[in-house]
Protein backbone atom coordinates (compact mmCIF):
# COMPACT_ATOMS: atom_id res chain seq x y z
CA UNK A 1 0.00 0.00 0.00
CA UNK A 2 2.60 2.49 1.04
CA UNK A 3 5.19 1.62 -1.57
CA UNK A 4 4.42 4.81 -3.46
CA UNK A 5 6.14 6.80 -0.75
CA UNK A 6 9.24 4.79 -1.38
CA UNK A 7 9.35 5.30 -5.10
CA UNK A 8 7.83 8.71 -5.73
CA UNK A 9 10.97 10.59 -4.96
CA UNK A 10 13.33 8.44 -7.00
CA UNK A 11 15.13 11.00 -9.13
CA UNK A 12 15.17 10.52 -12.86
CA UNK A 13 18.28 9.30 -14.56
CA UNK A 14 18.35 11.06 -17.92
CA UNK A 15 21.01 8.79 -19.41
CA UNK A 16 18.71 5.77 -19.11
CA UNK A 17 15.87 7.46 -20.92
CA UNK A 18 17.82 8.70 -23.91
CA UNK A 19 16.83 7.46 -27.34
CA UNK A 20 13.52 5.96 -26.22
CA UNK A 21 11.23 8.56 -27.67
CA UNK A 22 9.38 6.42 -30.17
CA UNK A 23 6.36 4.27 -29.37
CA UNK A 24 6.09 2.56 -26.02
CA UNK A 25 9.82 1.88 -25.80
CA UNK A 26 10.19 4.42 -23.00
CA UNK A 27 8.15 2.16 -20.80
CA UNK A 28 10.70 -0.61 -20.81
CA UNK A 29 13.16 -0.96 -17.99
CA UNK A 30 14.59 -4.21 -16.65
CA UNK A 31 12.54 -4.05 -13.47
CA UNK A 32 9.26 -3.58 -15.31
CA UNK A 33 10.12 -6.21 -17.90
CA UNK A 34 10.86 -8.82 -15.23
CA UNK A 35 7.74 -7.90 -13.25
CA UNK A 36 5.45 -8.07 -16.28
CA UNK A 37 7.03 -11.36 -17.35
CA UNK A 38 6.30 -12.94 -13.96
CA UNK A 39 2.71 -11.65 -13.97
CA UNK A 40 2.18 -12.77 -17.58
CA UNK A 41 3.47 -16.30 -16.94
CA UNK A 42 1.51 -16.76 -13.73
CA UNK A 43 -1.59 -14.97 -15.04
CA UNK A 44 -1.84 -16.76 -18.37
CA UNK A 45 -0.80 -20.06 -16.81
CA UNK A 46 -3.42 -19.92 -14.08
CA UNK A 47 -6.22 -18.85 -16.44
CA UNK A 48 -5.43 -21.28 -19.28
CA UNK A 49 -4.30 -24.41 -17.41
CA UNK A 50 -7.62 -25.02 -15.58
CA UNK A 51 -9.15 -25.95 -18.97
CA UNK A 52 -7.00 -29.09 -18.93
CA UNK A 53 -7.67 -29.86 -15.30
CA UNK A 54 -9.13 -33.38 -14.94
CA UNK A 55 -11.25 -32.69 -11.83
CA UNK A 56 -12.21 -29.77 -9.60
CA UNK A 57 -9.29 -29.64 -7.14
CA UNK A 58 -11.40 -28.32 -4.26
CA UNK A 59 -13.26 -31.65 -4.02
CA UNK A 60 -11.75 -33.62 -1.14
CA UNK A 61 -10.67 -37.26 -1.17
CA UNK A 62 -10.27 -37.46 -4.94
CA UNK A 63 -6.91 -39.20 -4.71
CA UNK A 64 -4.89 -41.10 -2.11
CA UNK A 65 -3.62 -38.95 0.73
CA UNK A 66 -0.09 -37.52 1.07
CA UNK A 67 1.33 -38.99 -2.14
CA UNK A 68 4.83 -37.78 -3.06
CA UNK A 69 5.36 -35.76 -6.27
CA UNK A 70 5.14 -37.88 -9.43
CA UNK A 71 4.34 -37.38 -13.11
CA UNK A 72 0.68 -37.90 -12.41
CA UNK A 73 0.66 -35.47 -9.47
CA UNK A 74 3.37 -32.91 -10.14
CA UNK A 75 3.46 -31.70 -6.52
CA UNK A 76 1.94 -34.76 -4.89
CA UNK A 77 -1.34 -34.83 -2.99
CA UNK A 78 -2.27 -33.40 0.40
CA UNK A 79 -3.80 -34.87 3.54
CA UNK A 80 -7.27 -34.12 2.16
CA UNK A 81 -6.67 -36.18 -0.97
CA UNK A 82 -6.42 -33.18 -3.27
CA UNK A 83 -3.84 -32.64 -6.00
CA UNK A 84 -1.53 -29.88 -4.72
CA UNK A 85 -0.50 -28.67 -8.17
CA UNK A 86 -4.05 -28.15 -9.42
CA UNK A 87 -5.16 -26.66 -6.14
CA UNK A 88 -2.31 -24.16 -6.43
CA UNK A 89 -3.18 -23.27 -10.04
CA UNK A 90 -6.79 -22.60 -9.06
CA UNK A 91 -5.59 -20.67 -6.00
CA UNK A 92 -3.45 -18.33 -8.10
CA UNK A 93 -6.33 -17.80 -10.53
CA UNK A 94 -8.89 -17.05 -7.82
CA UNK A 95 -6.53 -14.74 -5.93
CA UNK A 96 -5.67 -12.83 -9.10
CA UNK A 97 -9.35 -12.51 -10.04
CA UNK A 98 -10.23 -11.19 -6.60
CA UNK A 99 -7.27 -8.81 -6.70
CA UNK A 100 -8.23 -7.41 -10.09
CA UNK A 101 -11.90 -6.99 -9.09
CA UNK A 102 -11.00 -5.17 -5.87
CA UNK A 103 -8.34 -3.19 -7.75
CA UNK A 104 -10.91 -1.90 -10.25
CA UNK A 105 -13.42 -1.02 -7.52
CA UNK A 106 -10.91 0.65 -5.24
CA UNK A 107 -9.31 2.61 -8.09
CA UNK A 108 -12.65 4.01 -9.22
CA UNK A 109 -13.70 5.02 -5.69
CA UNK A 110 -10.26 6.42 -4.74
CA UNK A 111 -9.98 8.42 -7.96
CA UNK A 112 -13.47 9.89 -7.70
CA UNK A 113 -13.10 10.84 -4.03
CA UNK A 114 -9.48 11.99 -4.25
CA UNK A 115 -9.96 14.13 -7.36
CA UNK A 116 -13.15 15.75 -6.12
CA UNK A 117 -11.72 16.43 -2.63
CA UNK A 118 -8.54 17.95 -4.02
CA UNK A 119 -10.28 20.08 -6.62
CA UNK A 120 -13.48 21.18 -4.85
CA UNK A 121 -11.81 21.90 -1.49
CA UNK A 122 -13.57 23.73 1.35
CA UNK A 123 -15.68 21.97 3.94
CA UNK A 124 -16.28 19.05 1.59
CA UNK A 125 -12.55 18.39 1.50
CA UNK A 126 -12.20 18.68 5.28
CA UNK A 127 -14.94 16.14 5.98
CA UNK A 128 -13.65 13.76 3.31
CA UNK A 129 -10.08 13.98 4.58
CA UNK A 130 -11.19 13.29 8.15
CA UNK A 131 -12.91 10.12 6.99
CA UNK A 132 -9.90 9.19 4.84
CA UNK A 133 -7.43 9.71 7.70
CA UNK A 134 -9.62 7.65 10.00
CA UNK A 135 -9.82 4.82 7.51
CA UNK A 136 -6.03 4.90 7.14
CA UNK A 137 -5.39 4.98 10.87
CA UNK A 138 -7.84 2.30 11.92
CA UNK A 139 -6.19 -1.13 11.88
CA UNK A 140 -8.01 -3.04 9.16
CA UNK A 141 -7.51 -6.58 10.39
CA UNK A 142 -9.69 -6.43 13.56
CA UNK A 143 -12.57 -4.94 11.57
CA UNK A 144 -12.23 -7.63 8.92
CA UNK A 145 -12.11 -10.29 11.62
CA UNK A 146 -15.27 -8.97 13.24
CA UNK A 147 -17.03 -8.88 9.86
CA UNK A 148 -15.72 -12.30 8.95
CA UNK A 149 -16.85 -13.64 12.30
CA UNK A 150 -20.35 -12.22 12.01
CA UNK A 151 -21.16 -13.15 8.43
CA UNK A 152 -19.18 -16.36 8.31
CA UNK A 153 -21.06 -19.25 6.85
CA UNK A 154 -23.38 -17.17 4.71
CA UNK A 155 -20.79 -15.03 2.95
CA UNK A 156 -19.68 -15.68 -0.60
CA UNK A 157 -16.20 -15.25 -2.01
CA UNK A 158 -17.44 -12.11 -3.78
CA UNK A 159 -18.59 -10.65 -0.46
CA UNK A 160 -15.01 -10.84 0.82
CA UNK A 161 -13.97 -8.73 -2.18
CA UNK A 162 -16.71 -6.18 -1.50
CA UNK A 163 -15.61 -5.83 2.14
CA UNK A 164 -11.95 -5.36 1.16
CA UNK A 165 -12.99 -2.72 -1.38
CA UNK A 166 -15.03 -0.89 1.22
CA UNK A 167 -12.07 -0.60 3.59
CA UNK A 168 -9.26 -0.29 1.04
CA UNK A 169 -9.90 2.93 -0.88
CA UNK A 170 -8.57 5.48 1.62
CA UNK A 171 -4.84 5.40 0.90
CA UNK A 172 -5.22 5.92 -2.84
CA UNK A 173 -7.75 8.70 -2.30
CA UNK A 174 -5.26 10.53 -0.08
CA UNK A 175 -2.47 10.43 -2.67
CA UNK A 176 -4.69 11.37 -5.61
CA UNK A 177 -6.14 14.26 -3.62
CA UNK A 178 -2.68 15.68 -2.96
CA UNK A 179 -1.92 15.46 -6.68
CA UNK A 180 -5.16 17.21 -7.56
CA UNK A 181 -4.33 19.84 -4.94
CA UNK A 182 -1.13 20.87 -6.72
CA UNK A 183 -2.80 20.70 -10.14
CA UNK A 184 -5.57 23.06 -9.00
CA UNK A 185 -3.14 25.97 -8.92
CA UNK A 186 -1.78 25.37 -12.43
CA UNK A 187 -2.34 27.89 -15.25
CA UNK A 188 -4.16 25.64 -17.66
CA UNK A 189 -6.80 24.81 -15.04
CA UNK A 190 -7.58 28.50 -14.58
CA UNK A 191 -7.63 28.82 -18.35
CA UNK A 192 -10.22 26.06 -18.60
CA UNK A 193 -12.29 27.56 -15.82
CA UNK A 194 -12.33 31.01 -17.39
CA UNK A 195 -13.35 29.41 -20.68
CA UNK A 196 -16.50 28.27 -18.91
CA UNK A 197 -15.76 24.56 -18.37
CA UNK A 198 -17.78 22.93 -15.59
CA UNK A 199 -16.11 21.39 -12.54
CA UNK A 200 -16.83 17.90 -13.82
CA UNK A 201 -15.36 18.72 -17.24
CA UNK A 202 -12.21 20.14 -15.67
CA UNK A 203 -11.80 17.05 -13.51
CA UNK A 204 -12.36 14.72 -16.43
CA UNK A 205 -10.51 16.50 -19.24
CA UNK A 206 -7.75 18.49 -17.53
CA UNK A 207 -6.85 16.79 -14.26
CA UNK A 208 -7.60 13.13 -14.93
CA UNK A 209 -4.97 12.68 -17.68
CA UNK A 210 -2.31 13.91 -15.26
CA UNK A 211 -3.08 11.31 -12.63
CA UNK A 212 -3.55 8.30 -14.95
CA UNK A 213 0.10 7.26 -14.57
CA UNK A 214 -0.25 7.21 -10.83
CA UNK A 215 -3.61 5.45 -11.06
CA UNK A 216 -2.01 2.56 -12.96
CA UNK A 217 0.65 2.17 -10.26
CA UNK A 218 -1.97 2.45 -7.53
CA UNK A 219 -4.07 -0.19 -9.29
CA UNK A 220 -1.23 -2.71 -9.18
CA UNK A 221 -0.54 -1.90 -5.55
CA UNK A 222 -4.21 -2.43 -4.76
CA UNK A 223 -4.19 -5.83 -6.46
CA UNK A 224 -1.27 -6.75 -4.21
CA UNK A 225 -3.08 -5.40 -1.15
CA UNK A 226 -6.32 -7.23 -1.97
CA UNK A 227 -4.66 -10.60 -2.58
CA UNK A 228 -2.69 -10.13 0.62
CA UNK A 229 -5.74 -9.17 2.69
CA UNK A 230 -7.90 -12.03 1.46
CA UNK A 231 -5.03 -14.46 2.01
CA UNK A 232 -4.53 -13.09 5.52
CA UNK A 233 -8.18 -13.68 6.34
CA UNK A 234 -8.03 -17.13 4.79
CA UNK A 235 -4.91 -18.15 6.72
CA UNK A 236 -6.76 -17.57 9.99
CA UNK A 237 -9.84 -19.29 8.58
CA UNK A 238 -12.12 -16.26 8.28
CA UNK A 239 -12.49 -16.11 4.51
CA UNK A 240 -14.27 -18.66 2.34
CA UNK A 241 -11.62 -21.33 2.92
CA UNK A 242 -13.30 -23.92 0.67
CA UNK A 243 -12.40 -21.74 -2.32
CA UNK A 244 -8.77 -22.32 -3.34
CA UNK A 245 -6.77 -19.13 -2.82
CA UNK A 246 -3.16 -18.42 -1.93
CA UNK A 247 -4.29 -18.04 1.68
CA UNK A 248 -6.69 -20.98 2.00
CA UNK A 249 -4.06 -23.44 0.75
CA UNK A 250 -1.82 -22.40 3.65
CA UNK A 251 -4.78 -22.54 6.04
CA UNK A 252 -5.40 -26.21 5.19
CA UNK A 253 -1.70 -27.03 5.27
CA UNK A 254 -1.33 -25.50 8.74
CA UNK A 255 -4.56 -27.08 10.00
CA UNK A 256 -3.48 -30.55 8.89
CA UNK A 257 0.06 -30.03 10.28
CA UNK A 258 1.73 -30.44 6.90
CA UNK A 259 5.10 -29.62 8.44
CA UNK A 260 4.74 -32.10 11.25
CA UNK A 261 3.74 -34.87 8.83
CA UNK A 262 6.68 -34.09 6.58
CA UNK A 263 4.56 -32.96 3.62
CA UNK A 264 6.80 -29.95 2.96
CA UNK A 265 5.63 -29.49 -0.64
CA UNK A 266 2.14 -28.63 0.56
CA UNK A 267 3.38 -25.56 2.42
CA UNK A 268 6.53 -24.64 0.50
CA UNK A 269 4.87 -24.60 -2.94
CA UNK A 270 2.28 -21.90 -2.05
CA UNK A 271 4.98 -19.88 -0.26
CA UNK A 272 7.16 -19.86 -3.37
CA UNK A 273 4.16 -19.09 -5.61
CA UNK A 274 3.01 -16.21 -3.40
CA UNK A 275 6.46 -14.67 -3.10
CA UNK A 276 6.99 -14.90 -6.87
CA UNK A 277 3.61 -13.39 -7.68
CA UNK A 278 4.03 -10.57 -5.17
CA UNK A 279 7.54 -9.87 -6.41
CA UNK A 280 6.17 -9.66 -9.96
CA UNK A 281 3.43 -7.25 -8.97
CA UNK A 282 5.78 -5.12 -6.89
CA UNK A 283 8.46 -4.96 -9.62
CA UNK A 284 5.81 -3.93 -12.17
CA UNK A 285 4.48 -1.18 -9.94
CA UNK A 286 7.89 0.31 -9.14
CA UNK A 287 8.98 -0.29 -12.76
CA UNK A 288 6.01 1.70 -14.08
CA UNK A 289 6.77 4.40 -11.55
CA UNK A 290 10.38 4.67 -12.69
CA UNK A 291 9.34 4.63 -16.35
CA UNK A 292 6.82 7.45 -15.85
CA UNK A 293 9.38 9.45 -13.86
CA UNK A 294 11.85 8.99 -16.72
CA UNK A 295 9.28 10.10 -19.25
CA UNK A 296 8.46 13.23 -17.29
CA UNK A 297 12.18 13.94 -17.17
CA UNK A 298 12.56 13.55 -20.93
CA UNK A 299 9.59 15.56 -22.13
Amino acid sequence: MSSTIATDSVPTKPDEAEGWHSGLGWLLNPRLALGLLIIAVMGIGSFVLPIFCPIDPSIQATYLKNMPPSWEHLLGTNALGQDIFWFLVFAIRNSLMLGILVGVGVTIIATAIGLSAGYVGGNYERVVMLVVDTFITIPLLPILIILGGIIRGNNSFLMVGVIITFFGWAFGARTIRSMALTLREREFINMARFSGASTFDILRREIFPYVTAYILVAFINTVLFAINTEATLAVIGLSKVEVPTLGSIIFWALNYNALFNGNYVWIVAPIIATVTLFLGLFLSSTGFNAAFANKRGVL
Binding site: L130, P139, I145, G149, L224, G247, I267, F278, F282
Partner: protein, 333 residues
Protein backbone atom coordinates in the same frame (compact mmCIF):
# COMPACT_ATOMS: atom_id res chain seq x y z
CA UNK B 1 3.14 29.61 19.16
CA UNK B 2 3.85 27.32 16.26
CA UNK B 3 4.19 24.29 18.50
CA UNK B 4 0.99 25.04 20.43
CA UNK B 5 -0.97 25.35 17.22
CA UNK B 6 0.55 22.12 15.94
CA UNK B 7 -0.29 20.25 19.13
CA UNK B 8 -3.84 21.61 19.27
CA UNK B 9 -4.48 20.64 15.66
CA UNK B 10 -3.06 17.18 16.19
CA UNK B 11 -5.10 16.65 19.36
CA UNK B 12 -8.26 17.69 17.55
CA UNK B 13 -7.50 15.18 14.82
CA UNK B 14 -6.85 12.49 17.44
CA UNK B 15 -10.27 12.89 19.02
CA UNK B 16 -11.95 13.05 15.61
CA UNK B 17 -10.27 9.80 14.56
CA UNK B 18 -11.26 8.13 17.84
CA UNK B 19 -14.83 9.35 17.45
CA UNK B 20 -15.19 8.11 13.86
CA UNK B 21 -13.45 4.85 14.73
CA UNK B 22 -15.74 4.15 17.68
CA UNK B 23 -18.77 5.06 15.60
CA UNK B 24 -17.75 2.55 12.94
CA UNK B 25 -17.32 -0.12 15.61
CA UNK B 26 -20.77 0.71 16.91
CA UNK B 27 -22.41 0.67 13.49
CA UNK B 28 -20.90 -2.48 11.98
CA UNK B 29 -22.90 -5.07 13.95
CA UNK B 30 -26.08 -3.02 13.67
CA UNK B 31 -25.89 -2.66 9.89
CA UNK B 32 -25.32 -6.33 9.27
CA UNK B 33 -28.20 -8.70 8.54
CA UNK B 34 -27.28 -11.08 11.37
CA UNK B 35 -27.37 -10.15 15.02
CA UNK B 36 -25.06 -11.51 17.71
CA UNK B 37 -27.94 -12.25 20.07
CA UNK B 38 -29.62 -14.46 17.47
CA UNK B 39 -26.33 -16.31 17.15
CA UNK B 40 -26.02 -16.67 20.91
CA UNK B 41 -29.59 -17.88 21.31
CA UNK B 42 -28.97 -20.30 18.46
CA UNK B 43 -25.96 -21.69 20.33
CA UNK B 44 -27.96 -22.16 23.52
CA UNK B 45 -30.84 -23.70 21.58
CA UNK B 46 -28.43 -26.14 19.93
CA UNK B 47 -26.96 -27.08 23.30
CA UNK B 48 -30.46 -27.61 24.72
CA UNK B 49 -31.43 -29.74 21.69
CA UNK B 50 -34.25 -27.35 20.81
CA UNK B 51 -35.93 -27.64 24.21
CA UNK B 52 -36.45 -23.87 24.56
CA UNK B 53 -40.01 -22.64 23.99
CA UNK B 54 -40.88 -19.40 22.21
CA UNK B 55 -41.64 -17.76 25.51
CA UNK B 56 -38.27 -18.70 26.96
CA UNK B 57 -36.52 -17.31 23.92
CA UNK B 58 -38.34 -13.98 24.22
CA UNK B 59 -37.34 -13.76 27.89
CA UNK B 60 -33.76 -14.69 27.11
CA UNK B 61 -33.63 -12.12 24.31
CA UNK B 62 -34.90 -9.30 26.55
CA UNK B 63 -32.38 -10.33 29.17
CA UNK B 64 -29.46 -10.38 26.74
CA UNK B 65 -30.46 -7.08 25.13
CA UNK B 66 -30.41 -5.42 28.51
CA UNK B 67 -27.10 -7.05 29.44
CA UNK B 68 -25.36 -6.13 26.19
CA UNK B 69 -26.79 -2.65 25.78
CA UNK B 70 -28.95 -3.35 22.76
CA UNK B 71 -32.10 -1.91 24.30
CA UNK B 72 -33.95 1.14 23.02
CA UNK B 73 -33.62 2.98 19.70
CA UNK B 74 -30.31 3.40 17.91
CA UNK B 75 -29.58 6.85 19.32
CA UNK B 76 -30.05 5.76 22.95
CA UNK B 77 -27.88 2.73 22.27
CA UNK B 78 -25.22 4.93 20.69
CA UNK B 79 -25.07 7.37 23.60
CA UNK B 80 -24.89 4.64 26.20
CA UNK B 81 -22.25 2.86 24.09
CA UNK B 82 -20.05 5.97 24.01
CA UNK B 83 -20.58 6.56 27.72
CA UNK B 84 -19.66 3.00 28.64
CA UNK B 85 -16.65 2.83 26.31
CA UNK B 86 -15.13 6.23 27.00
CA UNK B 87 -15.72 6.58 30.74
CA UNK B 88 -15.73 3.00 31.98
CA UNK B 89 -14.22 0.88 29.19
CA UNK B 90 -17.01 -1.54 29.94
CA UNK B 91 -17.87 -4.10 27.29
CA UNK B 92 -19.83 -6.36 29.58
CA UNK B 93 -18.87 -9.95 30.33
CA UNK B 94 -17.30 -12.39 27.91
CA UNK B 95 -19.68 -14.99 26.43
CA UNK B 96 -17.13 -17.77 26.59
CA UNK B 97 -15.55 -16.97 29.95
CA UNK B 98 -18.75 -15.70 31.58
CA UNK B 99 -18.76 -13.70 33.88
CA UNK B 100 -15.16 -12.51 33.46
CA UNK B 101 -15.35 -8.89 32.21
CA UNK B 102 -13.98 -8.13 28.74
CA UNK B 103 -11.85 -5.25 29.98
CA UNK B 104 -9.92 -7.62 32.24
CA UNK B 105 -9.20 -10.05 29.37
CA UNK B 106 -8.14 -7.24 27.05
CA UNK B 107 -5.93 -5.45 29.55
CA UNK B 108 -4.08 -8.67 30.42
CA UNK B 109 -3.17 -9.12 26.77
CA UNK B 110 -2.41 -5.51 25.91
CA UNK B 111 1.11 -5.29 27.46
CA UNK B 112 2.22 -8.32 25.40
CA UNK B 113 1.13 -6.72 22.14
CA UNK B 114 2.55 -3.31 22.99
CA UNK B 115 5.88 -4.77 24.15
CA UNK B 116 6.32 -6.97 21.08
CA UNK B 117 5.23 -4.26 18.70
CA UNK B 118 7.31 -1.47 20.19
CA UNK B 119 10.56 -3.42 20.35
CA UNK B 120 10.23 -4.93 16.87
CA UNK B 121 9.08 -1.69 15.23
CA UNK B 122 11.95 0.29 16.74
CA UNK B 123 14.53 -2.32 15.67
CA UNK B 124 13.03 -2.62 12.17
CA UNK B 125 12.88 1.16 11.77
CA UNK B 126 16.45 1.67 12.96
CA UNK B 127 18.04 -1.23 11.01
CA UNK B 128 16.05 -0.53 7.85
CA UNK B 129 16.91 3.14 7.88
CA UNK B 130 20.62 2.53 8.48
CA UNK B 131 20.79 0.06 5.58
CA UNK B 132 18.67 2.35 3.40
CA UNK B 133 20.87 5.32 4.28
CA UNK B 134 24.05 3.51 3.31
CA UNK B 135 22.43 2.21 0.10
CA UNK B 136 21.17 5.69 -0.80
CA UNK B 137 24.26 7.66 0.18
CA UNK B 138 26.55 5.41 -1.85
CA UNK B 139 24.02 4.82 -4.60
CA UNK B 140 26.67 5.10 -7.30
CA UNK B 141 28.52 2.06 -5.89
CA UNK B 142 27.58 -1.43 -7.05
CA UNK B 143 27.45 -2.88 -3.54
CA UNK B 144 24.71 -0.41 -2.66
CA UNK B 145 22.32 -1.87 -5.22
CA UNK B 146 22.72 -5.28 -3.55
CA UNK B 147 21.41 -3.72 -0.33
CA UNK B 148 18.45 -2.38 -2.28
CA UNK B 149 17.73 -5.81 -3.75
CA UNK B 150 17.39 -7.11 -0.18
CA UNK B 151 14.67 -4.51 0.35
CA UNK B 152 12.91 -5.34 -2.91
CA UNK B 153 12.91 -9.04 -2.08
CA UNK B 154 11.61 -8.50 1.46
CA UNK B 155 9.07 -5.72 1.03
CA UNK B 156 6.28 -7.43 -0.96
CA UNK B 157 6.29 -10.61 1.16
CA UNK B 158 3.14 -10.64 3.30
CA UNK B 159 3.26 -11.17 7.06
CA UNK B 160 1.71 -14.62 7.02
CA UNK B 161 4.28 -15.94 4.53
CA UNK B 162 7.12 -14.53 6.63
CA UNK B 163 5.65 -16.07 9.76
CA UNK B 164 5.19 -19.51 8.22
CA UNK B 165 8.67 -19.37 6.68
CA UNK B 166 10.27 -18.37 9.99
CA UNK B 167 8.49 -21.27 11.73
CA UNK B 168 9.56 -23.63 8.95
CA UNK B 169 13.20 -22.59 9.06
CA UNK B 170 13.82 -21.88 12.76
CA UNK B 171 11.56 -24.51 14.34
CA UNK B 172 11.68 -27.44 11.89
CA UNK B 173 14.79 -27.30 9.72
CA UNK B 174 17.07 -25.76 12.38
CA UNK B 175 15.19 -26.39 15.63
CA UNK B 176 16.45 -23.46 17.70
CA UNK B 177 13.04 -22.30 18.86
CA UNK B 178 10.15 -24.24 20.39
CA UNK B 179 7.25 -25.29 18.13
CA UNK B 180 4.64 -24.67 20.78
CA UNK B 181 5.54 -21.53 22.67
CA UNK B 182 4.64 -21.45 26.36
CA UNK B 183 4.04 -18.25 28.23
CA UNK B 184 4.04 -18.51 32.02
CA UNK B 185 1.25 -16.79 33.93
CA UNK B 186 1.11 -15.36 37.43
CA UNK B 187 3.74 -13.51 39.42
CA UNK B 188 6.60 -12.25 37.28
CA UNK B 189 10.05 -13.54 38.15
CA UNK B 190 13.38 -13.12 36.38
CA UNK B 191 13.21 -16.66 35.02
CA UNK B 192 9.69 -16.17 33.70
CA UNK B 193 10.67 -12.90 32.06
CA UNK B 194 13.51 -14.74 30.33
CA UNK B 195 11.08 -17.39 29.08
CA UNK B 196 8.72 -14.76 27.74
CA UNK B 197 11.53 -13.04 25.86
CA UNK B 198 12.82 -16.34 24.46
CA UNK B 199 9.34 -17.31 23.26
CA UNK B 200 8.75 -13.84 21.81
CA UNK B 201 11.85 -13.96 19.62
CA UNK B 202 10.21 -15.76 16.68
CA UNK B 203 7.27 -13.35 16.29
CA UNK B 204 9.68 -10.47 16.82
CA UNK B 205 11.95 -11.73 14.02
CA UNK B 206 8.93 -11.95 11.72
CA UNK B 207 7.84 -8.40 12.47
CA UNK B 208 11.37 -7.03 12.11
CA UNK B 209 11.80 -8.73 8.71
CA UNK B 210 8.43 -7.35 7.59
CA UNK B 211 9.21 -3.76 8.55
CA UNK B 212 12.83 -3.94 7.41
CA UNK B 213 12.26 -4.06 3.63
CA UNK B 214 9.95 -1.10 3.41
CA UNK B 215 12.25 1.07 5.51
CA UNK B 216 15.24 0.21 3.29
CA UNK B 217 13.41 1.15 0.08
CA UNK B 218 11.87 4.31 1.43
CA UNK B 219 15.04 5.54 3.11
CA UNK B 220 17.14 4.73 0.07
CA UNK B 221 14.93 6.85 -2.20
CA UNK B 222 14.97 9.72 0.30
CA UNK B 223 18.73 9.51 0.86
CA UNK B 224 19.45 9.54 -2.89
CA UNK B 225 17.37 12.69 -3.29
CA UNK B 226 18.87 14.37 -0.20
CA UNK B 227 22.46 13.59 -1.23
CA UNK B 228 21.96 15.77 -4.32
CA UNK B 229 20.82 18.79 -2.28
CA UNK B 230 23.07 21.90 -2.50
CA UNK B 231 23.71 21.98 1.26
CA UNK B 232 25.25 18.51 1.12
CA UNK B 233 27.53 19.61 -1.71
CA UNK B 234 28.40 22.72 0.31
CA UNK B 235 29.33 20.62 3.34
CA UNK B 236 31.54 18.46 1.13
CA UNK B 237 33.32 21.57 -0.19
CA UNK B 238 33.68 22.74 3.41
CA UNK B 239 35.60 19.54 4.07
CA UNK B 240 33.11 17.56 6.16
CA UNK B 241 33.92 13.86 6.28
CA UNK B 242 31.76 11.23 4.61
CA UNK B 243 30.49 10.11 8.03
CA UNK B 244 29.46 13.64 9.11
CA UNK B 245 27.71 14.27 5.82
CA UNK B 246 25.92 10.93 5.88
CA UNK B 247 24.68 11.18 9.46
CA UNK B 248 24.48 14.90 10.18
CA UNK B 249 23.31 16.17 6.80
CA UNK B 250 21.59 13.40 4.84
CA UNK B 251 20.10 11.27 7.63
CA UNK B 252 19.08 14.25 9.75
CA UNK B 253 16.89 15.52 6.89
CA UNK B 254 15.76 12.24 5.38
CA UNK B 255 14.57 10.81 8.71
CA UNK B 256 11.73 13.33 9.03
CA UNK B 257 9.49 11.89 6.27
CA UNK B 258 10.36 8.45 7.67
CA UNK B 259 8.95 9.39 11.08
CA UNK B 260 5.76 10.68 9.45
CA UNK B 261 5.52 7.52 7.36
CA UNK B 262 5.89 5.40 10.50
CA UNK B 263 2.96 7.21 12.13
CA UNK B 264 0.85 6.72 8.98
CA UNK B 265 1.66 3.03 8.59
CA UNK B 266 0.95 2.13 12.22
CA UNK B 267 -2.48 0.71 11.38
CA UNK B 268 -0.95 -1.71 8.87
CA UNK B 269 1.90 -2.60 11.22
CA UNK B 270 -0.58 -3.26 14.03
CA UNK B 271 -2.71 -5.51 11.81
CA UNK B 272 0.43 -7.40 10.85
CA UNK B 273 1.36 -7.82 14.51
CA UNK B 274 -2.10 -9.19 15.31
CA UNK B 275 -1.78 -11.75 12.52
CA UNK B 276 1.70 -12.71 13.67
CA UNK B 277 0.42 -13.23 17.22
CA UNK B 278 -2.29 -15.55 15.92
CA UNK B 279 0.15 -17.65 13.94
CA UNK B 280 2.60 -17.94 16.84
CA UNK B 281 -0.01 -18.33 19.60
CA UNK B 282 1.49 -15.27 21.26
CA UNK B 283 -0.85 -14.20 24.08
CA UNK B 284 -1.61 -10.68 22.83
CA UNK B 285 -4.67 -8.90 21.45
CA UNK B 286 -4.36 -10.83 18.18
CA UNK B 287 -4.78 -14.23 19.80
CA UNK B 288 -7.77 -12.93 21.78
CA UNK B 289 -9.34 -11.65 18.56
CA UNK B 290 -8.87 -15.01 16.92
CA UNK B 291 -10.29 -17.14 19.71
CA UNK B 292 -13.14 -14.67 20.17
CA UNK B 293 -13.92 -14.74 16.44
CA UNK B 294 -13.95 -18.53 16.27
CA UNK B 295 -16.16 -18.86 19.36
CA UNK B 296 -18.41 -15.92 18.33
CA UNK B 297 -17.62 -14.04 21.54
CA UNK B 298 -18.83 -10.63 20.35
CA UNK B 299 -18.19 -8.65 23.53
CA UNK B 300 -14.54 -9.67 23.55
CA UNK B 301 -14.33 -8.90 19.81
CA UNK B 302 -15.63 -5.37 20.36
CA UNK B 303 -13.35 -4.83 23.34
CA UNK B 304 -10.29 -5.97 21.38
CA UNK B 305 -11.15 -3.95 18.28
CA UNK B 306 -11.83 -0.81 20.32
CA UNK B 307 -8.57 -1.10 22.22
CA UNK B 308 -6.82 -1.63 18.85
CA UNK B 309 -8.24 1.61 17.48
CA UNK B 310 -7.38 3.52 20.64
CA UNK B 311 -3.86 2.05 20.78
CA UNK B 312 -3.05 2.83 17.15
CA UNK B 313 -4.50 6.35 17.32
CA UNK B 314 -2.60 7.06 20.55
CA UNK B 315 0.69 5.72 19.18
CA UNK B 316 0.24 7.90 16.09
CA UNK B 317 -0.44 10.89 18.35
CA UNK B 318 2.70 10.22 20.42
CA UNK B 319 4.88 9.98 17.31
CA UNK B 320 3.41 13.19 15.94
CA UNK B 321 3.95 14.96 19.26
CA UNK B 322 7.62 13.89 19.29
CA UNK B 323 7.97 15.26 15.76
CA UNK B 324 8.52 18.94 16.73
CA UNK B 325 11.52 17.79 18.79
CA UNK B 326 13.04 16.35 15.62
CA UNK B 327 12.01 19.09 13.20
CA UNK B 328 13.11 22.55 14.42
CA UNK B 329 11.13 24.22 11.62
CA UNK B 330 7.88 23.53 13.48
CA UNK B 331 9.32 24.90 16.75
CA UNK B 332 10.54 28.19 15.26
CA UNK B 333 7.72 29.02 12.90
Amino acid sequence: MGVLQYVAKRLGQYFAVLFVGLTITFLIPRLLPTNPIDGYIGQIQARANGALSGNDIALLRANLEELYGLKGDVLTQYLSFLKRVIFQFDFGPSFTYYPQPVSQIVFTALPYTIGLLMVSTLIAWFLGNVVGLVAGYFHTKRAASILEVVGIMLYPIPYYILAVTVILVLSYLIPIFPLAPSFPVGQMTLQKAGMIIYNSLLPAITLILAGFGWNILSMKALAVATTEEPYVTYSRLKGATNWTRMTGYVFRNAMLPQVTALALSLGTVFSGALLTEMLFSYPGIGLILRTAASSADYNVLYGAITISIIAVATAGLVIDLIYPLLDPRIRHR
